[in-house]
């Protein structure tokens, strides 16, 4: 058993599950999407990205790319949230909430791809 692999798999999956938890629910309803969950998803996703740094295998590079995409989407969602709350002061309207959630939905897709690649890598390894 490789401890590195365990840690990495843990973070990748946690990022996907947290992301899913935030995403699920009515897309326009702020009550269904907790900000702490988005926050946790961002932090865990960032850690997962850093853990994949310096991997020279082809599969590792694709996982890194997917992970970077997830970060980008989640950070975009967080920035949108900050803007509507503090810059434009329009508050969490239905349209704002749905764009935040749809951005996180994109991140979810990237995270799922990461998980799938992780599974493929595990299956392909001979040991």
């Amino acid at each position: 058993m490789n401890l590195d692999k365990v840690i990495f798999a843990f973070f990748i999956m946690l990022a996907a599950t947290l992301n899913f938890g935030f995403f699920i629910g009515d897309i326009a309803d702020p009550d269904h999407h907790h900000r702490l969950e988005l926050y946790a998803a961002i932090v865990i996703s960032a850690i997962a990205t850093v853990l994949k740094f310096g991997d020279q295998t082809h599969l590792g590079a694709v996982v890194l790319a997917a992970s970077l995409v997830a970060d980008l989407q989640l950070i975009a969602a967080a920035i949108t949230w900050a803007i509507v709350e503090h810059v434009t002061n329009t508050g969490l309207t239905a349209s704002a909430m749905s764009s935040i959630v749809s951005l996180s939905g994109g991140a979810l897709l990237a995270n799922l791809i990461s998980v799938v690649l992780l599974v493929i890598e595990t299956v392909m390894s001979r040991r």
Binding site: V43, I47, F53, G54, D55, Q56, W81, A82
Partner: protein
């Protein structure tokens, strides 16, 4: 580049994860801990403000409590956060700095830079293995002829010398084991612009390995290799090494030529010297008995060539048994007066100081001169760094080994036609002929050595001339030897070789008829070269020259 980047990222995983955790915990704490707004009501900091606060808290310790003054609970948490984030930052920066200073990382960076600069080479280049005196002269010559070079040597000091050399083009160099085939490949062995490999390290074995690796990995490349041992040379020849240079043979051959046939020697010297070298008048060493000091590999080769040229020589050697010297050899180094007197220095006409020690060679020359001031002195210089003292000694003929080898190779690379011409000159037995040729060359040269240039009579290089010849005009060589600037004057140059297919004519006469596709080798002043190139590419000038030709 790639591997350095990945190495850096891999090493920075720990610090970056620590930093993310520090930020995440600090922000989360600030969001969860309740504060009070200006009206005294419960207020929770949001993520936006928390992230903003932590960002400037971690990097600067001088800040206000925003947007409302903190409660004591918040302050307690911020106190913890300050130490946590600052430590995380110090750790991350410290690790990054250590990484940059690590030898392995630095090596990876220089390696990456070397590979990139080799890949970017756009002009034809030669891969030079070994950057001793010979390698340095070679690289200078290659650059002068418009080539670039990549240098490999196992000594870092020599690579540092390369970067101090101040060459007009960038020559990448790398400390590496030349006999490693992978090192040759990173040096550009398979690069499309690589024209050849030159193996001039001190070790025959390394040169052999370089030659064989190059011939196997890139069979089309020209391989020039130095070999001191004849067996190794034969071995190199067996797998197709293009030019094998035995420094002792070439050096001894030149030396014997200088003594026996000064005119041929001076022709060699002039035509292969770097540009702007002052023109040295030919020396005529006296005929008679010579003294040869040193009977190592070099001395043996010299003796062989001297006896071939029927010159009598008395040998002086400190260890006659070890070097298998002939019986009548005088024992001694030759640096002491009594040894030289025993060798008959008073009756000799010249002395060759040919040991492998520069100081001894100089000492031999100085001592011998005191005993017989009319001696013709020939000194062998082994190391380039001793240039100043050899210059000061004012030896009649100074033979520098690295210089001779480097010129030998460069002539073959830069101007194969010149190499062919010099071979013909060597074969000519007639010393009168060579003396006359030397006089003609010095007549067109001026104060510095003549430059040599090749004029292929083709559309690309002599368009106007080639078109006329192609249409069937009959133009003698003399036409293009006229000065296009001043009618009735000849260009100060001399046609050395006229090559048509496999036929070569030495020193073609003015009435030799040109044909499309011929190759001509000239020597003379630089201005003559540029005027000739200008004239043969201009239709008007070619017509004028033909009309004015008698």
């Amino acid at each position: 580049m790639g591997s350095v980047f990945f190495l850096a990222l891999r090493r920075l995983r720990g610090p970056l994860v620590t930093l993310i955790c520090a930020y995440a915990v600090s922000v989360l704490g600030l969001v969860l801990i309740p504060g009070r707004d200006s009206a005294g009501g419960i207020w929770h900091m949001d993520f936006f403000h928390a992230f903003y606060f932590v960002s400037f808290m971690g990097t600067t310790i001088g800040f206000g409590e925003i947007p409302y003054p903190f409660t004591d609970g918040q302050r307690l948490w911020v106190l913890f956060c300050i130490y946590f984030t600052v430590t995380a930052w110090l750790y991350a920066i410290g690790r990054a700095l250590t990484l940059v200073q690590e030898p392995a990382f630095r090596q990876a960076v220089t390696y990456g830079a070397f590979v990139r600069s080799v890949r970017r080479l756009a002009e034809p280049f030669y891969l030079v293995c070994g950057y001793g005196d010979t390698g340095r002269t070679l690289v200078r010559g290659l650059v002068e002829w418009g080539f670039s070079a990549v240098v490999l040597d196992q000594d870092q000091d020599r690579i540092n010398l390369l970067s101090l050399e101040n060459l007009p083009v960038y020559v990448p160099g790398r400390r590496t084991n030349c006999s490693d085939p992978a090192a040759l490949t990173t040096g550009g062995l398979k690069h499309s612009q690589c024209r050849g490999v030159i193996a001039v390290t001190n070790s025959d074995h390394v040169n052999l390995k370089v030659s064989i690796s190059s011939k196997l990995l890139s069979p089309n490349l020209k391989v020039y290799s130095r070999s001191e041992i004849h067996d190794v040379g034969l071995n190199m020849e067996s797998f197709g090494t293009d030019v094998i240079v035995n420094p002792f043979d070439i050096f001894a051959d030149r030396l014997a030529m200088a003594v026996h046939s000064p005119a041929r020697y001076v022709i060699h010297d002039w035509l292969t010297s770097p540009v702007h070298t002052p023109l040295r008048e030919p020396l005529f060493p006296p005929r008679g008995r010579w003294i040869l000091c040193g009977f190592g590999r070099f001395g043996k080769a010299v003796q062989q060539f001297l006896s071939f040229e029927q010159i009598d020589a008395t040998i002086v050697e400190s260890e006659p048994e070890a070097t298998a010297a002939p019986e009548e050899t005088i024992r001694g180094r030759g640096t002491e007066a009594n040894t030289l007197q025993e060798a008959g220095v008073e009756q000799a006409v010249g002395i060759i100081a040919g040991t492998d020690d520069d100081v001894n060679n100089l000492s031999i020359i100085m001592t011998a001169r005191e005993l017989n001031e009319n001696l013709f002195t020939v000194a062998r210089q082994n190391r380039q760094e001793n240039d100043p003292i050899f210059q000061a000694a004012e030896v009649d003929l100074l033979m520098q080994r690295s210089d001779i080898i480097a010129r030998h190779i460069i002539t073959r690379i830069s101007n194969p036609l010149l190499a062919e011409f010099l071979q013909h000159v060597d074969k000519m037995e007639d010393e009168q002929w060579a003396t006359a040729l030397a006089a003609r060359i010095s007549g067109v040269a001026g104060d510095t050595v003549p430059t040599t240039w090749v004029l292929p009579v083709t559309k690309g290089t002599a368009s106007a001339l080639a078109i006329r010849l192609y249409r069937g005009a009959e133009i003698p060589l003399g036409v293009i030897l006229q000065d296009p600037h001043e009618s009735g004057q000849r260009l100060s140059c001399l046609a050395l070789l006229h090559k048509r297919g496999n036929d070569t004519a030495l020193l073609p006469a003015d009435d030799a008829v040109l044909r499309h596709g011929d190759k001509l080798l000239f020597c003379g002043r630089r201005i003559a070269a540029s005027r000739m190139r200008w004239a043969v590419n201009s239709a008007d000038l070619v017509r004028e020259l033909i009309e004015s030709y008698p």
